[in-house]
């Protein structure tokens, strides 16, 4: 019965104070919605690879090459031969498998496809629990001629027909083979770093021609997973990598006689549960997350929740005086303080519950866009514990925001509150409210500055001069395949002849795609032990002309000048001739070759083939280029050589004029005519560069959106508070007007009242923003100057004031213009 009475009272109170209730509920709903959205993201990020039944036992090995004079190269891949040594050396290891993701040409009934096919060891199925839908998974990978498909691929290739027993021809370039579908498995979970669409067993002998795939100690091309036996400690393995490396890896040619391979090569293993958020290094097949992002967004969610709860507290306590009479009457009629606390807390929870329902509606509306930005498929699963979490969140916020008002309201003494002419509000609660407003704005301003810095850094990175002109270059991919390479000269020639083609070239890398090829280079004066490990890229004729890179000195490769590449096979045959080489400025410095002009014509020796072969080719420097950002701006520029490769490339780049679409269509026609077996795959260099920042852009957008929401919620609170305060100060304003204050004087007074907390909030927010954002910027090699943060701080202060003023101004004007007589006549 009493509960009923409380509910009625709560319900009527909500309706009686429509403005307050609307602000309260709307603010809460926005805060809760933001919180839920972030929680969904964080939960997904934290869930990666935790679902495997052996998740606690599965590890992936990583390797770092630390070469003197170079930044360490962290790889999340492992050299192919390591697996055999691992199984031999560590009895703690139960199962181990490599995983190399390939994109071969797949031929089914004369139809061509290009899809992800993973090369794995037989043990793969013992590490990861895959669910077979059809066929026998246990025996499937025992045969080198079998393939396991996911349902997705089986459907793509064979529709609704049964895939088991069907034949698929796969052209891996090294070899071409007919595979029989032996099993179909369920599609793999998206929250994993181990996603694959099809599995075939690794056939090492078949890769003889490309032995670096699985048989080279200093080349990394596959991931390696292993499981520990039950009871074994990963430390026993992680502590003995150095010995493992010295025992199994070949010796490296640098460091002198006393040097061990483990001085330059480091290995470690990481639990599969940590891969998504903690793995650092090149060679991931799928986008990884970042622990910092998770922490940052969790913090933002918490802060938004705090702002919403503060609003709630502020508006409730502000209204306290108007409810004092109800409290007093209830007390007179026998209610205890506890009864009243329960009543007010219940009311808070009721309001929060309404807010929560609205929040869920907001979330459902926002999820499609949110998922698109993040590239995820997040959703609230109402049939699961999600509903309990959501309810718990509502109760938590209700209690958090309601406890203080409940305490204040229940404290009123009837004898005091029923007496007129006395403000029911204590100084303490007014002071607390100012502090809470300061906290809200400090948080909002910090978020604003952080967003500005994140965006500023992103814009800076996007617009930084890369050293080449990324506009108007079409990149034709898939060139590395044997069928295409055979026609490379023809393709280049034909494209060059197109009317809109300005310049055409080819290379073994795509800008911004990450390239970790390195080779040993020394000068005439240096011994082999003093050779430097220098990044190496292979390019065709007219490369720098196509990418519009002006040479500092010398010239680039041209057919007319008869530049030759040194073929490794010729070296093996003992043929010795001098090739031409182009280097960048960093390489000049590393090799100690003096100025660019002096370097032209000097000889350098470059290691070729496998390290064990000890092959060296002689080159003459014919050109020096500036340091160019062909890799992501997250890495520093390395010393590089640009080797001529007449017959090999993975990408053809064509600079064009006029319409990109028309040009692309022309090239597509040519491709489809010449290479019908492989789908035409292209990109624009400018788009590929932009793609580098997709994840950052998504997160920056998310960050900006949530910051705006936080500010909006804070403003709602300020608005509510301002209208309340204006009401509370009606008498004072009346007096001031009678004393001669103009409308302007009064507006000034009220606006100043709300400017003070905003200004104080700035003083708190600035150092926090400056400190955290300089820390954040440190992770970028190329970053905006620190003083930009100060600029953003000033901008934030200005914006916060403008927002606060415009929030408060309307109310202030209304109150300031009111006739003072009404305020003064009656008390």
């Amino acid at each position: 019965m009493l509960l009923n009475n409380y509910l009625i009272s709560a319900w009527r109170n909500i309706f009686k104070h429509k403005l307050f209730s609307a602000i309260n509920i709307f603010g809460l709903a926005i805060g809760l919605a933001a919180c839920i959205l972030i929680a969904l993201f964080v939960r997904d990020e934290l869930s990666y690879d935790k679902f495997w039944s052996k998740a606690d036992q599965i590890y992936r090995t990583h390797i770092t090459f630390s070469v003197p004079g170079r930044d360490p190269m962290d790889m999340v891949m492992t050299p192919g031969p390591v697996i055999h040594a691992l199984l031999k050396d560590f009895p703690q290891v139960e199962h181990a498998s490599r995983l190399a993701s390939q994109e071969p040409t797949i031929i089914i009934n004369n139809h061509y496809f290009v899809d992800d096919i993973s090369l794995v060891d037989e043990d793969f199925i013992n590490i990861f629990d895959l669910e077979a839908v059809e066929g026998d998974l246990n025996t499937a990978l025992k045969s080198l001629n079998n393939i396991v498909l996911t349902e997705k691929l089986a459907k793509k290739y064979f529709g609704s027909n049964n895939a088991i027993g069907k034949i698929i021809t796969i052209d891996f370039d090294s070899y071409k083979r007919d595979y029989k579908v032996a099993a179909v498995i369920k599609d793999m979970a998206k929250n994993s770093q181990v996603i694959t669409d099809a599995l075939v067993a690794i056939d090492e002998p078949a890769w003889k021609e490309k032995d670096w795939m699985f048989d080279a100690w200093f080349s990394v091309n596959s991931h390696m997973f292993f499981t520990l036996k039950k009871g074994a400690d990963i430390k026993s393995i992680n502590n003995s990598w150095s010995e493992f490396i010295d025992r199994n890896f070949p010796k490296l040619p640098f460091g002198g006689t006393g040097a061990k391979t483990s001085d330059f090569v480091h290995m470690t293993s990481m639990s599969i549960k940590d891969l998504h958020l903690k793995a650092k290094g090149d060679g991931e097949y799928h986008e990884i997350g970042d622990m910092n992002t998770v922490i940052i967004f969790s913090t933002v969610a918490f802060l938004i929740l705090i702002i919403a709860a503060i609003n709630f507290m502020n508006l409730s306590t502000a209204r306290a005086s108007s409810r004092a009479k109800e409290v007093s009457l209830r007390k007179v009629l026998g209610a205890s303080r506890k009864d009243l606390i329960i009543q007010f807390l219940g009311e808070s929870i009721l309001i929060t519950a309404i807010g929560m329902i609205m929040a869920i509606v907001f979330v459902e509306f926002a999820l499609p866009i949110y998922n698109e930005i993040l590239g995820k498929t997040l959703r609230i699963n109402y049939a699961s514990a999600d509903l309990i979490y959501v309810a718990a969140l509502a109760i938590f916020v209700g209690l958090l925001g309601g406890s203080y008002p409940a305490f204040i309201l229940s404290h009123f003494r009837p004898s005091e509150t029923l007496k007129a002419n006395k403000s029911a509000e204590s100084d303490a609660s007014i002071k607390l409210r100012s502090i809470l407003v300061i906290v809200q704005f400090a948080v909002s301003i910090t978020l604003f500055v952080s967003t500005a810095v994140v965006y500023g850094q992103m814009l800076y990175a996007k617009n930084m001069n890369l050293g080449y002109d990324k506009e108007n270059i079409l990149a034709v991919k898939e060139v590395y395949r044997d069928v295409v390479l055979k026609k490379l000269p023809l393709l280049v020639d034909e494209i060059r002849r197109m009317p809109n083609a300005i310049s055409v070239t080819w290379s073994n890398f795509m800008p911004e795609s990450g390239n970790n090829n390195n080779t040993l280079v020394r000068t005439e004066k240096q011994a082999l032990e003093d050779a430097s490990l220098i990044g190496s890229r292979e390019i065709g004729f007219d490369y720098f002309k196509t990418y519009k890179v002006p040479l500092i000195s010398g010239r680039e490769y041209s057919i007319e000048r008869g530049d030759r590449e040194v073929l490794t096979d010729d070296l093996r045959k003992g043929l010795n001739y001098t090739g031409s080489i182009i280097v960048n400025e960093s390489a000049l410095r590393r090799l100690g070759l003096g100025t660019a002009d002096n370097a032209i014509g000097k000889l350098v020796f470059i290691s070729k083939g496998n390290p064990s072969e000890n092959l060296e080719a002689t080159y003459e420097i014919i050109g020096v280029v500036p340091d160019i950002h062909f890799d992501s701006l997250k890495s520093t520029i390395r010393p590089e050589i640009y080797d001529l490769s007449v017959n090999y490339g993975s990408v053809i780049s064509a600079r064009f004029s006029g319409s990109p679409v028309a040009f692309t269509e022309q090239v597509r026609k040519l491709w489809e005519q010449e290479i019908p077996s492989i789908p035409f795959n292209y990109d624009f260099i400018s788009a590929a560069v932009a793609k580098q920042y997709n994840a950052e852009q998504g997160q920056a957008a998310m960050f900006a959106a949530f910051s705006c929401l936080a500010i909006l919620v804070a403003c709602l609170g300020l608005y509510g508070l301002a209208s309340y305060t204006a009401e509370r100060r009606t008498k004072e304003i009346g007096i001031r007007k009678v004393m001669g204050a103009s409308v302007f004087d009064v507006v000034k007074l009220l606006i100043w009242q709300f400017s003070k907390p905003v200004l104080i909030a700035n003083l708190i927010a600035w150092p926090i923003s400056y400190f955290t954002m300089t820390l954040w910027l440190e992770s970028f090699v190329y970053r905006i100057e620190d003083f930009f943060i100060l600029g953003f701080c000033l901008l934030a202060a200005f914006t916060a004031l403008i927002i606060a003023w415009s929030t408060v101004a309307g109310n202030s004007m209304r109150v300031a213009r009111a006739n003072p007589i009404k305020a003064l006549r009656y008390e």
């Binding site: 002419n421 009346g734 007096i735 009678v738 103009s742 003072p820």
Partner: protein, 227 residues
């Protein structure tokens, strides 16, 4: 000092027109002490508000120092008001969050007076009404009589030539009421024009002239001969 000519004030709601003042003609000389009396709802307060320029008449003329202010805008009235008119209310109307001194200073705040001079004038007027020892106190710490003395101080600190008092003793006991009336009398003797609305005939006796209002009309005007 001021002259009301055929002054009418009507309040309009959707359907009904209520006439609060009807054809009022009053003249008040500089240095006069006038009491306005009448039953509740007779238009006393409306009259006082119009004289105090807090409200504007519907028709008629209001000459203040020979200037017809009847058609003036709110801000124009504000300028004249803050220069010439001080107010005293029944409910004191002090600002709870300000000290006694600050409350008094408020009347000078909206004039162009340097801070040092403001302080000096506030101190002088506090001394005059005998609340100097309470300067730093908040209104809630004072008795009703003391609060009204602060209000009087506030009304005269700007050297206003006229004080409008709306039942200044209504919320006070007899002794404190007496005190305030004596203070007003003293101010009047010093040259301040005083117009006071009151219910109390004995307090009206302090005035030299009493205007009786009934239903928006001036019924009688009586002069008290100077003793």
């Amino acid at each position: 000092m001021l002259k009301l000519q055929d002054l009418t004030k009507a309040y309009r709601t959707d359907e009904v027109e209520t006439v609060a003042l009807n054809n009022v003609n009053i003249e008040i000389e500089t240095g006069e002490f006038v009491a306005i009396m009448g039953p509740s709802g007779c238009g006393k307060s409306t009259l006082l508000n119009i004289i105090g320029m807090l409200d504007t008449p519907s028709s008629g003329h209001y000459f203040f120092k020979d200037e017809d202010v009847a058609g003036y805008s709110e801000s124009q009235l504000g300028v004249i008001r803050k220069q010439h008119i001080g107010f005293i209310f029944q409910s004191f109307n002090l600002i709870d969050e300000l000290t006694v001194a600050e409350n008094i200073e408020l009347a000078l705040l909206y004039h162009d007076i340097p801070a040092a001079e403001r302080k000096e004038r506030v101190a002088a007027v506090m001394d005059k009404v005998g609340i100097a020892h309470r300067a730093k106190h908040m209104p809630s710490q004072l008795s009703g009589g003391q609060q009204q003395r602060v209000a009087v101080a506030r009304a005269v600190v700007g050297n206003q030539s006229m004080i409008l008092a709306d039942e200044p003793t209504g919320n006070l006991d007899t002794a404190h009421g007496q005190e305030v009336m004596e203070m007003l009398q003293k101010l009047n003797e010093e040259g301040t024009t005083i117009v006071m609305v009151t219910h109390s005939p004995s307090h009206a006796d302090y005035a030299r002239r009493t205007i009786n209002l009934l239903d928006g009309h001036v019924v009688t005007e009586s002069m008290r001969s100077k003793i």
